[in-house]
Structures are given as C-alpha cells and as structure tokens.
Amino acid sequence: MSTQPKTNKSKFWLVFFGLIMVISLIGGGSYALNEAGLLSAATSTADEGERGTPPDFTEGEMPEGMADRAEGGSSSTALLGLGKSVGQLAIIIAVVYYAQKLFGWLERRWQKPKLSGQTG
C-alpha cells in the first residue's frame, strides 16, 4: 500500500524523461538531416530549381498579404485561412467518426447471425 505512490512517481518520471529523450532524438535527428543536406533535398523537389514569379509591389512597399502577416488582424486572407483550417478539421472529424460508426454497425451485423446460431 505504501509503495504504490512511490511506484507511480517513478513511473511518471520514467515517462517524463522518456518523452524528453524522444523529443531530443527527433529534434536532433531532423537537425542532423538538414546539416547533411537531406532536408533541403526533400523539401525542394517541387521547385526543381525554378523560382515562382515574385508578387507585384512597388519599391518600399510590402507585397500584398505580407503586411498583415507581420501585424496580424482580421483581413479576408486571415479569416479565409482560419475558415479553411476549421472546415478541414470538421470534415476529417465527420468522415472518421461516421466511418467508425459504419464499421461498428457492419461488424455487429456480421456477428449477429453467428451469435444467434450459437444460442439456438
């Protein structure tokens, strides 16, 4: 009885330091990959050395969309982006939730005759 809190405490610290170790490994690993030039190779495959056309802006002015990115605010770009993320999340949640329900229903339907056959 008295050893229970102590065991729990040691388990918690095990999880904590394990987590820190995993995070360090992921961080260190991605840093090492970048130093080896593997990250830039992986992330720039879409560009293939070609640069996109720069946005129109006159000298001394920030390109459109960059000014509100620095300062923030509820511009149409910002609200559209927020709406897009919320919508994306809602679609994923709805699809997965109802797919789970459907699978559950199919599973139950599949198992029903088997069970009734066993009892009867």
């Binding site: 388990k11 992921i26 830039s40 720039s44 982006g81 994306q88 994923i92 939730y97």
Partner: protein
C-alpha cells in the same frame, strides 16, 4: 469513498477538457500568422509546445501502460491511437524546432539570429499542413469523449431535454 473517487475523476475530466480546448483554440490561431501577426504567432507556437507536453503528461498513465504493452496484447483502438500520437509528437517537435530556428521575433529578443535556411521554412509549412490532418484524426478518434465532456462541463447548466417515457410493453396499454 466512492463519492470522493468519482468526484476526483470528474474534475480530472474537466481539467483535461479545458486544457484540450485551450490547445485546440491556440492551434487554430497559430495556424494563421495572417490572423495573429508574427509576434503572437511565435510566442503562441512556443506556448503550444509546452501545452502539448502538458497534454501528454496529463495522460502519462495511458502512455506508460500502452508503451509497455505495445508489442504484447493490446486493443486495436489503443494501438492506432499510439501510432497516431507518435506521429503527432514527431510532427509537433519538427514544427516547434523549425519555428524556433526561423524565428523573426523571439530569437532576436534573446540576441540570436534566426536561420535563413529555406529548408526549415519549407519543413515548418509542410509539417504544419500535415498537423491539421493528424490533429483532425486525433480529435475524431476521441470525438465521443469530447462530445460527452463538453455536454457535461460546458453545457451542463442547460436544462436537460426530457425523454418521452416509452412503455415497456405496448400490449399492456
């Protein structure tokens, strides 16, 4: 004794719900630097890194039990959750690390210069886009819990809708 245990469990659920709701709101805001501005985006991102760590540590018992049983007998749902959560941990670590490295506001405050490496910028964007999908899946797998906890702790004050009493046997009436 039972009442105390139940109360303790209930308050734990409420605490988890409020932490999760704060993380979800912060995550959505952090996804839009246009909305928050770069300074808030960066500080919010760093705070979210800490909040994710807190979220994981609040569920440390589940993490310990699932990790120790992962290669043994384990429920399918728990196994899927574990793999998804690991993907989320990897993704958020990359987002936070790349975000700190390309920082334009936080690092200069500490007297350090942010990296101009385009690879980190690309990685930050790609992993943030990926995070929306993984977070969506993570929420979807816990949607029943989210709904019931939200109903109980956020809308518990609302009067409950009375369900019509259905007679046990229709022939008795």
């Amino acid at each position: 004794m039972t009442t105390l245990a139940t109360r303790h469990k209930l308050s734990e659920t409420a605490r988890n719900l409020f932490v999760d709701l704060a993380i979800a709101a912060g995550f959505l805001a952090a996804l839009q630097p246009h909305f928050t501005g770069m300074t808030i985006h960066e500080w919010l991102g760093i705070s979210l890194g800490g909040a994710f760590l807190l979220h994981i540590l609040l569920h440390w018992r589940w993490l310990y039990a699932t990790t120790s049983r992962f290669f043994k007998k384990l429920a399918r749902q728990s196994r899927i959750n574990f793999v998804l959560n690991l993907a989320l941990l990897i993704d958020f670590t990359i987002i936070t690390l790349s975000g700190i490295l390309i920082s334009e506001e936080v690092l200069p405050l500490l007297g350090l210069a942010g990296s101009q490496d385009m690879a980190w910028k690309s990685l930050h964007t790609i992993s943030a886009d990926l995070a929306v999908w993984i977070v969506g899946l993570h929420i979807a797998l816990h949607w029943k819990w989210v709904l019931s906890a939200t109903r109980k702790y956020l809308f518990g004050w609302l009067p409950r809708r009375k369900t019509a009493s259905v007679p046990q046997t229709s022939t008795a009436v």
